[in-house]
Structure formats: C-alpha cells, structure tokens
C-alpha cells in the first residue's frame, strides 16, 4: 500500500512541478504588473507561450552542432529530475533517496554546464558573454549552496532532503545558523534564476543580460524546452526553501491520501506567497552591475560559511 | 725470502717499472701505446690474481683487505685509461699538440706513475708509502706540464708548489708518528711498519699522534683535493692531457685518501687520541659545499668535472669521518664508484673536446644529436655522478645520507644542501651540453668507447647488485676503519 502511495506521490509530484512551474512564472509576472499598475498578462500566459513556441518552426544557426540541438533536452531533463526529487507536498517520495541535497546541487550544476556550452556553440559574441558570466555566477553560487547544504544537513544529521524536511518539521528550534542559511539560499535562488537584481528576465537587447544571452539563438521547440526548464528551476528553488525552512504540512512517509491533498494545497499556497514576495522584491530593487554580482554572491557564501562554523562550534559545546 | 720473491705484489710494482724503462727507449709512439696498454693490462691481471691469493706479508710490501680493494681499482682504471689514451693521443699527434718526444716522455711517466701508486698502496711501512706518493706527485706534475703551453705550465707550477708543500707536511707527520712509536717499539724499522704500528697503537703518546694527524691530514689532504688545499686540482685537470685528468681523479686522489685512512685507523686504535672524525667531517663538508657553489660559474668542461671531483672527495671524507659500519661501507663504495664514473666522464669529455675543438661549455651544445654515443655516454655518466639510480653512486649516497641523518641530522642537512646545489649546477651544464641545437664540430675522431662502456657497465651493475665477496671485503674494511 505504502509502495503504491509512494509511487503515486512520486508520479504526482513529477506532473505537479511540470504543471505548476510556468504558472508560478505567470503569477509573478501578474503580480509585478499589478504592482506597476498594469493589467498584465493572464497567469496562464507562460503556458500559452510554450505551446506557441512548440508549434513554431525551429531555426538553427549554421554553425550549430549536435550539442546545440540536444542541449535543451538535457537541461530540461536534469532540472526536471532534480525538481521531482525535492519534497514538495510529501516527504515519502519513491525515489527521493537516489539523490541527496549535494547531488541536487550538482544536477543543477550539470544543467548550467550544458547551457553554458550551448551558449558558446554558435560562436557569437553574445553567447560567449552569457556563458562567461553564467560560469562566474555559478562558481560562486554553487559553493554557497553547498555551504548552506552543510548547515542544514549538519543540523538535521542528514543530506537526504526528505530526512531534513522531516527533522525540521518534527523538532524545529530557531537557530542563528538556520537564519543565515535561509538568507543565503534566497540570495542564491535569486541569482541562479537570473532575477533582478542579478539579471533581468524580461529583456533581450541589454548587454548586461546573462541567461537570455546564452539562449539568444534558440527558437521554436528548443526555446520552449529551455524556458520550461528555467521555470522548473525557479520552482525547484522555491520548493527547496519551502521544504527545508517551512516544512509544515508535508505529508509524511506513509501518509493518507487526504494528507497528501492537504499537502498539495499548502504547497500551492507556499508557492503563491513566494511568487508574491519575489514580485514585490523585483519591483522594489534595481538591477546591479555585473561585476558587483560577485560581491552579492560572496555575501551568500560568507553566510553559508558562518552558518557552518557556528554549527561546528556549537556541536563541540 | 723465497716466498717474498713469489709475491704478486712485487710483480705489481715491477711490471710498470720495467715497462717504463722499455718505453723510455721506444721511439715509435704506436708501439709505445701498445706496450703501455699491454703493461697496464698485465698489471691488472696480477691485481686480479691478488683477489684469489688474498693476504700477503713481505718485508717491504704487504696486502690486506684494505689495500687490495684500492689496488684492484687503480690497476683497472689504469688499464682502461691506457686504452683510452691510445685513441686519445692519436688525435693529439694528428693535430700536432704533442710531439713524438713528448709522447715518449708521456708514456714512460705514465708507467712510472702507475708503479709509484701501486708502491704507495702496497708499501708496508709509512716511509716507503710517503716516498712513493712523492714520486707519484712529481710524475704527475711533469705530465700536467707536458703540453708546454703557458696555461699548462702555470697549472703544473701551482700543482708542484702546493703538492710538495703538502707532501712535506705529510713527511713531518710521518716522522712524528715514528717518534710516537719509537719509545714503544724501540728504534729502527719496526716503528714504521703498519702491522706493528697497528698492533701497538694504544700505547703511543696520544698528543703526539694528534699533532701528527694534523700534519698528515693536511699533507695528504692536499693531494686528496680537499678544500682549502684544493687549488691545484682544477687547473691540473684542465690543462693536462685528458688521460692524466682521468688518472688524477680516478686514482691519485684515492691513493692519497688511502694514506689518510691508514693513519685514521692508527688514531682510532688509540683510545686517548682525538677521534679524527670531526676533522675529516669538517674538511669534507667544506669541500662539498664550496665545490658545489664553484660549479656554477665554470665555463671549462674539464674544470667543471674537476670541481665535482673535489665535491665527491668531500663526500667520501665526510663518510669516513662519520664512521661506523654503514658509513664506512658507503665511503668505500662511493670512492670506487666515483673513480670509475669520473674517469668515464673524462673519457667522454676528452673525445668531446677533441671533436668540438674546444673545452668551453658555452660553445658545445646538442651532443646527443650530433654524436649520440659520446653524448648519451656523457649524459649517463653525469647522471651517475649526480647519484641517479640505478647507478652505483646512488647506493653510496643513499647509505651516507640516511645513516648520517639517523645519527646526526644536523650534519646530514648541510651535506644534502651541498648535494642539491651541486646537482643544480651539473644538471644545468649537462642539459646545455647534451641537448638543444648542436654546434658545429671541427673534426671526427675514431673514439674507442670501450673503456667508457666498461666503466658505466660496472657502475650500473654495482648500483643494482653487489657481489657477495665484494660486500664481505668492504664490510671487513669498514670494520677495520672503525
């Protein structure tokens, strides 16, 4: 029975993340538009865009190689696998044990790796800029993530997300290090998803763009898949923050269907809150210069390190 | 007395003497070279016979574990060097650097030198040893000056002055030893014979022995080429004919060292006397480090390796100074390996200098490409002298450094420092000489690589495998040296 439940939960989760991620984007845009006193596109707009792109003809640059064509699918696959392993509404996922937090980070890392390569494949200047900057951000964001992972997993005594979530849910006490970790993870999340102030998702002809520069040459279904992947990434980070720091309402390992339903509802609510906060944050800040991003991410790294040190020291006492 | 006539050691002294006499009258230099070769060869065979005959004890000559090693080694190197010199002088004649008269003189003195050195090694009393060493010195002085160029004369003169001062000091030390022995052993010959001296060493006046050793160490040390008495060595090596450089580095230094070792044994036998160790260690270290730094600024290929001889003599002196079974063993091994390797180096260097028509390091490049045999021969032998495995020097250096470091780390560290600095210099020069775009050569020589190959083969073999009887000897000798 539990096996079936777990399988169901896993399948459910995989579909759920896929379905919800563009909606989250759409919701954020909507809220932003509203805050800017605009009507804004409907919340489902990202899905419409995806469908439209999928229907469109795909144009490839002459110099594009096989790598360029297969990159979108690989990126999508890695991100999706990662997203479907993080507990969103239930901890008892069928396959949650095949990759722990560090592995999740690494999966996102491979997505970035492939994306950066794809950016360089056509041999245009924009792609190069994008990949180069992405690489630098990544080389700061990843260690920061790892440090944050250290903090939570040292506290929870495990790097398994479901274990961590369960621990946080059961006996959660307020710790400074956890606070550091939270702030750090938020900073990383913003940077990784190319949101303001690090990058501006809604521009193209700006020399400071990063993510958009890499996918400049993509069109049609390839672009659609990549967009979906980035949406998934945003969702993944949100649900990471949610399940690690606000783990209430997660359905337990062998919970009932009702519990799962409850979990789903709460999860959607969490997403909504996150999207709203993100929108508010984005409209209230300006984009920063590219070379300041390293300092910005350095803060996250420092927070993670401080948190880890604190944990280490408190352990000894 | 009859047994005395049959002694092999007599032959070892007699053959070269006879050959020398024959060579004085021999005018055809090719024939002379052959006689020279044959005589050295026979001498070497007799030395080999010694191996099987073992100890001998005569009134003037004697053979024991210590000098047997030296004799075999020196006759071997004497032999191979004579092969080398045969192919070397040919070119000297062609280029007219040596006249026929010179050559007669050269060959005769060569044999006299061998004779003197064998005598020095086999002499059973300290007086005779001293005399033969002086003769050896004078002959080499003459041979260094054989080219009659200003430089060679200067070198020979310096060698003569420093050498005879050293030898004089050694004589004074010898007399002192006699005077120390005389009250115990009574007047006369007994007080100069090694066996009796060693037997009664404990009863001698310690203070007198100390003073004596100061003179002997400095006197014979001059001929060993230890700093600060080394000054004659580089020029003598550089300006004389290359076979003589080979003999100097390969033999004469060892013979002088042999003398020092004998007296060291004497002092070690006497409990009250100062242990000679510290003195040897100090001089040894001084030589190693000094020579190591001197290597850097050399532009003359023969001077370069002369300084490396100083360095290695320093190492050997250091090893014997440290003492103990392992270090003494290492010292003997190192001495053997060094004379083989260094003479091999001079064999190749001699031909290289002839081929390139210069001794300037800066004007020789890319030997491995232009002359593969000579070039790689040089590379291998220099690697050997730098103590690279699997060649013999590595084993001895391994033993010296490790055994010393186990006992007195603060002594091993400067030694290692010296080794490293010297290696830096030699490697730099070697890469310059052997690799890169080759420079032009002036002429070809039909170099006989036999001696080179033989020496390197022995060194390689010794680095991997030491025959048991050799080991037992070395260990006996090491025990004698205390």
């Amino acid at each position: 029975m539990t096996f079936l439940l777990d399988l169901f939960a896993q399948a459910m989760q995989m579909i759920l993340v896929l379905a919800l991620s563009p909606v989250l984007i759409g919701f954020t845009r909507k809220v932003k538009a509203r805050l800017l006193r605009r009507q804004g596109a409907p919340v489902m707009q990202p899905w419409y865009d995806l469908i439209r792109l999928l229907r469109k003809e795909t144009v490839l640059a002459e110099d594009a190689s096989w790598l360029y064509r297969s990159a979108p699918y690989i990126i999508f696959a890695t991100t999706w696998v990662a997203a479907s392993l993080a507990p969103t509404f239930a901890t008892g996922l069928m396959f949650s044990w095949i990759a722990d937090l560090i592995a999740l980070t690494a999966l996102l890392g491979s997505a970035r790796f492939v994306l950066a390569l794809a950016g360089m494949d056509v041999g245009t200047s924009f792609g190069g800029i994008g990949s180069s900057r992405e690489t630098m951000f990544g080389s700061l964001a990843e260690p920061a993530t790892i440090m944050i992972v250290f903090v939570v997993s040292l506290i929870a005594g495990s790097t398994q997300l479901s274990e961590v979530a369960a621990y946080m849910a059961s006996d959660f006490e307020l710790r400074v290090s956890v606070g550091f970790a939270l702030v750090g993870l938020v900073i990383v999340a913003i940077a990784e998803n190319g949101r303001i102030p690090v990058d501006n998702p809604s521009t193209h002809l700006e020399l400071t763009m990063v993510h958009e520069a890499m996918i400049l040459e993509y069109s049609g279904r390839h672009l659609a898949v990549i967009e979906l992947a980035s949406a998934l990434k945003l969702l993944l980070y949100v649900s990471l923050i949610a399940c690690v720091f606000f783990p209430f309402g997660l359905a337990p390992h062998n919970g009932s269907l009702s519990g799962m339903g409850y979990g789903v509802v709460l999860y959607v609510a969490k997403l909504a809150v996150a999207g709203f906060l993100l929108a508010v944050f984005e409209v209230s800040t300006a984009k920063m210069r590219v070379f300041r991003v390293s300092d910005y991410l350095g803060v996250a790294l420092m927070l993670g390190l401080l948190g880890t040190l604190l944990v280490f020291v408190t352990r000894s006492l | 007395m009859n047994s005395e006539m049959l002694m092999v050691s007599n032959a070892l002294v007699a053959i070269p003497a006879v050959a020398a006499a024959a060579l004085v009258v021999q005018t055809d230099y090719r024939r002379a070279a052959q006689i020279n070769l044959a005589a050295s060869g026979v001498t070497f065979l007799f030395a080999l016979a010694l191996l099987f005959k073992g100890h001998e004890d005569g009134s003037f000559l004697f053979v024991d574990d210590l000098n047997i090693v030296f004799v075999v080694l020196s006759t071997l190197v004497g032999f191979t060097t004579s092969i080398f010199s045969a192919s070397y002088i040919q070119h000297e004649i062609d280029t007219g650097r040596l006249s026929l008269g010179n050559l007669r003189f050269y060959h005769a003195t060569y044999q006299v030198l061998l004779c003197a050195m064998n005598l020095a090694l086999l002499a059973s009393n300290i007086g005779l040893m001293w005399v033969s060493l002086e003769v050896a010195t004078l002959t080499t002085v003459l041979m260094v000056g054989v080219y009659r160029t200003r430089e060679s004369l200067e070198a020979a003169w310096k060698y003569f002055i420093l050498g005879s001062v050293g030898i004089a000091l050694a004589l004074f030390g010898t007399i002192l030893v006699y005077i120390a022995a005389e009250p115990v052993l009574g007047e006369g010959y007994d007080s100069m014979v090694w066996s009796t001296l060693m037997a009664h060493a404990p009863d001698f006046s310690a203070r007198l022995l100390n003073v004596a050793f100061v003179f002997l160490m400095l006197g014979y040390g001059t001929k060993v080429g230890l700093a600060p008495m080394h000054a004659w060595l580089p020029d003598a090596h550089a300006e004389g004919p290359t076979p003589i450089s080979a003999v100097l580095s390969g033999l004469l230094l060892n013979v002088a060292l042999y003398a020092v070792l004998r007296f060291k044994m004497l002092l070690t036998a006497n409990a009250a006397a100062v242990t000679p160790g510290p003195m040897m260690i100090a001089l040894g270290l001084a030589s190693v480090i000094f020579a190591a730094f001197m290597l850097y600024k050399r532009d003359d290929i023969k001077r370069l390796f002369a300084y490396s001889s100083i360095e290695h003599m320093g190492i050997i002196a250091f090893a014997f100074g440290v003492g103990g079974p392992v270090a003494n063993f290492a010292g003997l091994l190192h001495m053997t390996m060094h004379s083989l390797t260094k003479s091999a180096i001079f064999f190749s260097v001699g031909h290289i200098a002839q081929v390139k028509g210069t001794q300037k390091i800066s004007e020789i490049r890319g030997l491995t490409q232009s002359h593969p045999a000579l070039g790689w021969g040089l590379v291998i032998s220099v690697m050997a002298i730098c103590g690279m495995p699997p060649l013999g020097v590595f084993m001895s250096e391994f033993l010296v450094v490790s055994s010393t470091f186990a006992r007195q780390p603060w002594l091993a560290v400067p030694l290692v420092f010296g080794l490293l600095v010297a290696f830096g210099a030699l490697l730099l020069r070697l890469i310059g000489l052997a690799f890169g775009e080759p420079t032009k050569s002036v002429g070809e020589v039909q170099a006989s690589t036999v001696p080179l190959v033989v020496h390197l083969a022995i060194v390689l073999l010794a680095g991997l495998y030491l025959p048991a009887y050799l080991v037992t000897w070395f260990q006996n000798v090491a025990r004698l040296l205390g």
Partner: protein
C-alpha cells in the same frame, strides 16, 4: 756531559731557527741564496752533532748529503740560474718586515706550545729538535706565503725541507731509508724546479709569479 750535549744540540737547532728568521726578512735574491747556504750549514752541523750524540753513523751520511747538496750544489746552481736570468739584483717587496717578524715569533711560540707537551714521553733531544724543527717548517711556509718570486719560493720550500731533515735526525734510530729518500726527493724536486725556472723563463721572460697568475687557463 749529558747536559752539555743537550745545550749544544739546542744551540745548533736554535741557530737554525735564527737563520730561518734571516731568510724571512732578507729581500735581495743573491743575499737570500747565501743565507740559505748558511741555513744548510747549520743544518749539517746540528745533524752531525746528533750523529755524534746518538752514536748513529748513518746520520753522518745525512749530514754529508745536506752539506753537499744543500750547502754547496744547490746554492751554486741557484746563483747561476739567478745570474742567467739576470735577476740577482732584483729586490722584491716583502710585505712589511715588522708584521712578518711578529708572525714568525708567534709561530715559534706556537710550535713550542704544541710540541713540548706532546713529546713529554720522548727523550729530551728529540723534544727540543722537534720543537725547533716545527718552527723551521712553519717559518719556511710563512716565507713561501710572503714571497712572490719563484726563486725565493723555492728557497723557502727548501728551508722547510731542512726543518724536516732536522726532525728526522732528531728521531732516534730512524732508518736510513728515510733520510736518503728525503735527500733524493729534494734532489728530484730541485731538478724539476730548475726545469721549470727555465721553461717559465723562456715563456714569460720573468720569474715573477704575478706574471704567471695572469695566464691562468681560466679567465675571469
């Protein structure tokens, strides 16, 4: 009587040291050679006296050798060489007589300090002789260090050898082998020196050793 013998021996040996000092500050070549002859004579006397005292006939031989070679042949030959080289008038600069003298004094003192306690066991003759001999050796060496003229260097060297012979003679019953060898070696040495002086002469037209240092095989 014993005492007298000792005094005479000391007197002669001491005179040798004195002559060594004279050698040390004599700066004219011809003069130097004469003093060297004197040195040899003094040596001969003291060796002879030793022979008389020790009743060791072979020492007379040594004395003879010393007299013949060192006191006559070598000085004569040297004088001839110097004449041929036309340098018998040359006055060489000896770095400050005063310091050299003091150094010499110090050396004599040193040799006494070293030798007397060392030879406590040996008999008094040997003791005195050894001390003086060492002094002579050191002085000879000092002379070689301070002189830059080939001839005077040789003289310094031979005075050093005289010291050795004195020591050898002082040692009771040292077999003849050694003295002869000494004498021979000195002879050989002298021959070599002669050859060299002429070679140097024919190459450099001088026996000033500073000239020699300029033709090192290896240039700075």
């Amino acid at each position: 009587m014993e005492h007298l013998n000792l005094d005479v021996a000391q007197l002669l040996a001491g005179s040798l040291v004195l002559v060594s000092f004279m050698l040390l500050y004599q700066d004219r070549l011809s003069g130097l050679i004469n003093i060297f002859a004197l040195h040899a004579v003094a040596l001969t006397l003291s060796v002879a006296w030793q022979a008389y005292v020790q009743h060791a006939p072979h020492l007379y031989v040594t004395a003879g050798i010393a007299l013949i070679f060192k006191a006559t042949i070598i000085p004569v030959a040297l004088r001839r060489i110097v004449k041929q080289l036309r340098i018998h008038r040359t006055v060489e600069i000896v770095g400050g007589i005063g310091p050299t003298m003091f150094l010499g004094m110090f050396l004599v003192a040193l040799s006494l300090v070293v030798m007397l306690p060392a030879t406590a066991s040996a008999d008094p003759f040997a003791r005195e002789d050894l001390a003086f001999a060492l002094a002579i050796v050191l002085l000879g060496l000092l002379m070689m260090v301070t002189r830059r003229n080939a001839v005077s260097q040789i003289i310094g060297f031979m005075s050093l050898e005289n010291g050795l012979i004195l020591a050898a003679a002082g040692a009771d019953g040292m077999p003849l082998v050694v003295e002869i060898s000494v004498a021979l070696s000195v002879l050989v040495a002298f021959i070599v020196i002669g050859i060299f002086l002429f070679r140097i002469r024919e190459r450099f037209d001088t026996v000033d050793l500073f000239e020699l240092d300029r033709v090192r095989g290896e240039k700075r």
